[in-house]
């Protein structure tokens, strides 16, 4: 039987009422948990594995996969409504999504996210069926030099994320890199910048840092703004479907970015969202709208996020390589049910493999059917008086910080970075580049040092591997073009001083 035949069989299994119910429960639970700050898809999936122990393998994996997708969308809700990323991959949505909420366009932002997530997830699931094996062989060519070059490519986005001042964007990038250096050196095993605190040996977790930078700093500034008589948020107008339609090109590009990066194990869910945001800003005819409520700044990253979630299943299914922590948890669930992901899965258990793949389509459909009608419900949060809402947000942020490692210290980290966020706003240092390098920095350092270990300290390894060389050339060209334009612009301003 060919793939299409197996897929049809799988659809039949996934559409059984029992499995549909589990997919629905998974989507609901995943969305609800994803809304909670600090409880990301990894923790949500891990915590809810016990719920699936009594189920048969197909139902268990269908439910866990639905939790994974649901948690991705849930993180978007808090990013848009209260500028607090529910999970790391939703951080970039804070930049424009929250601005849209402040302008009374929260419904549109959430609707765009739902539609984009559906389209990105569905197309990526089709890609899983059609292109799994050929693309996976390409992804296998990615070693440490290619990873390092890819992350450097991501770093060039810093210049596009930073607004009009390249200097301040680079300061933000450096601060993000610095935050990522705290902890144990990934190669030598020495502590760095831990100040003798055992809590810092594991480094600074992204979630409390991002919650502080975006969420807590926003609250502290809102409380100080005498120009605001009440809530900084405006009751949302109805969804503007014209804007949703106009964001289709961004959704298309986000699908491509998320899908391609999902094939590469180890990239992580946040990188596609930042790359997508940078791409949207680059191709936009009105880039200065970004950071002020540009719908493409929500559509692209949210689509990339879900396309990534689907595409990252490809290395797991075809090679048995989990591309992220969440997929490692899913792989654990596979093993607990007596199934080994990898090339033999399709041969030995085709009914299981294709039923789960078919359930991805169903899960995406359930998510949009659930979440679009729920948008008016979510935006009711904006009607809660701000003086009650912000203490609740602070409590959720404290709990979310502590929940990660069980350390009250992480709540202190969150508060500290809230004040850092205020200081950055005071100096007009943008937060977006900082959040990008916070994530990329450790990955770049690790892959660079691994590459140089492979080459006995020679940088030539980056020039003898075609994929790495190609990515480095792209990075240099993009950076040079932007720097030339900005320096020419800044020189024109300085000559007038």
């Amino acid at each position: 039987m060919d793939s299409f035949g197996y897929l049809l069989d799988g659809l039949g299994t996934a559409l059984e009422p029992r499995n549909l119910v589990f997919a629905l429960i998974g989507c609901l639970v995943g969305t609800a948990v994803g809304v909670l700050p600090g409880i990301g898809p990894t923790a949500a999936t891990a915590m809810l594995i016990p719920l699936t122990l009594a189920l048969d393998p197909i139902a268990a994996i269908i439910m866990l996969s639905a939790i994974y997708y649901g948690a991705q969308y849930g993180g978007t809700i808090t990013s848009v409504l209260i500028n607090t990323p529910g999970e790391i991959a939703s951080a970039v949505t804070c930049i424009d999504g929250y601005q849209m909420a402040k302008q009374g366009r929260a419904s549109t932002a959430l609707a765009v996210s739902a539609v984009g997530s559906f389209i990105g997830g569905t197309i990526a699931s089709c890609g899983l069926v059609l292109l799994a094996l050929p693309l996976t062989s390409l992804a296998l060519k990615f070693g440490p030099p290619e990873f390092c070059a890819l992350m450097l490519c991501g770093l060039t986005l810093v210049v596009g994320l930073g607004g009009t001042s390249l200097t301040k964007a680079m300061i933000a990038a450096c601060l993000g890199l610095l935050i990522g250096l705290v902890g144990i050196d990934p190669v030598a095993g020495e502590p760095r910048f831990t100040f003798g605190l055992p809590e810092l040996l594991d480094g600074l977790d992204f979630v409390p840092v991002l919650m502080g930078l975006f969420g807590v700093s926003e609250i502290l500034l809102n409380l100080s703004d005498r120009n605001r008589s009440g809530s900084p948020l405006t009751s949302s107008r109805r969804t503007e479907w014209g804007e949703v339609r106009r964001s289709m090109p961004a959704i298309g590009r986000g699908t491509g970015v998320g899908f391609l990066l999902g094939l590469i194990p180890g990239v992580g869910a946040a990188v596609p969202t930042y790359l997508s945001y940078g791409l949207e800003k680059k191709v936009s005819k009105r880039p200065r709208r970004f950071g002020r409520g540009a719908v493409e700044g929500v559509a692209g990253p949210e689509t990339a996020n879900n396309a990534y979630a689907s595409a990252s299943m490809i290395p797991l299914f075809t090679l048995g390589i989990p591309g992220s922590a969440t997929l490692a948890v899913l792989m654990g669930a596979f093993l607990m049910n007596g199934l080994s992901p990898g090339p033999l899965l399709f041969k030995e258990h085709p009914d299981f493999a294709w039923a789960v793949i078919a359930s991805f389509y169903i899960g995406n459909l359930i998510l949009i059917v659930l979440n679009l009608p729920l948008v008016p419900m979510w935006v009711q949060i904006l009607k809660v008086p701000y003086r009650v809402l912000y203490p609740l947000i602070l409590v959720m942020a404290i709990v979310g910080s502590i929940a990660l490692r069980g350390e009250v210290f992480d709540a202190a980290v969150m508060l500290f970075f809230g004040l850092v966020g205020v200081a950055c706003r005071k100096l007009s240092i943008p937060l977006a580049p900082m959040s990008l390098t916070l994530i990329l920095g450790p990955m770049i350092e690790k892959s660079l040092r691994q590459s140089l270990s492979l080459s006995q300290g020679s940088f030539g390894i980056f020039f003898t591997r075609p994929i790495a060389l190609g990515l480095i050339i792209v990075s240099v060209v993009v950076l040079s073009l932007f720097a030339f334009n900005v320096v020419r612009g800044e020189s024109r301003v300085e000559s007038e001083v």
């Binding site: 909670l36 409880i39 200097t167 450096c174 703004d225 005819k285 009105r286 140089l452």
Partner: protein, 158 residues
């Protein structure tokens, strides 16, 4: 010429501290960059950039036309300062977080929320107490009982 702000000086201070900290570790060994290499590069770059910003922001700024975006909409400069309310909230959070391991999550959070509602927002005490208790108990129940997350219970085991 304007005086550099404390924040500018703090930025320079952080970069100098980073350079000093990185030089205490191996910058390069036989296999390439050591633990001190990346921090040194970041520290040097940050120092240069923060000095540039410090010098530029210290110069008198010329009067310029209002900044507008592609649609001609004026881009307002954000006025950034923390007022009394913000500092009170920060103080409440500091005290609550520092004492959380001793008094437990529920009491600490209830105290933080009660202080914010009753003192900062000047809400009527019975309403403030009710909301604080609900938020504290609700969040504790949600995360510990429903999601199995361990939250501190303090010396009293509350």
């Amino acid at each position: 010429m304007r005086r550099p702000s404390l924040l500018h000086l703090a930025l320079v201070g952080v970069s100098v501290a980073t350079i000093v900290g990185s030089l205490r570790r191996a910058v390069w060994d036989e296999l390439g960059p050591g633990p001190g290499f990346f921090p040194l590069v970041v520290g040097v770059l940050l120092l240069g950039l923060s000095l540039r910003v410090l010098v530029r922001d210290s110069r008198p700024q010329p009067a310029t036309e209002p900044d507008v975006d592609e649609d001609g909409i004026r881009l307002e400069e954000e006025v950034v300062r923390l007022g009394r309310k913000s500092w009170l909230v920060v103080a409440a959070l500091v005290v609550g977080i520092l004492t959380m391991d001793l008094i437990g999550f529920r009491i600490a959070v209830a105290a933080i929320v009660l202080f914010i509602l009753a003192v900062v927002e000047r809400m009527r005490p019975p309403v403030a107490v009710g909301i604080a208790a609900a938020i504290s108990a609700g969040s504790f129940y949600l995360f510990t009982d429903l999601l199995g997350v361990q939250l501190p219970t303090g010396l009293l085991g509350v």
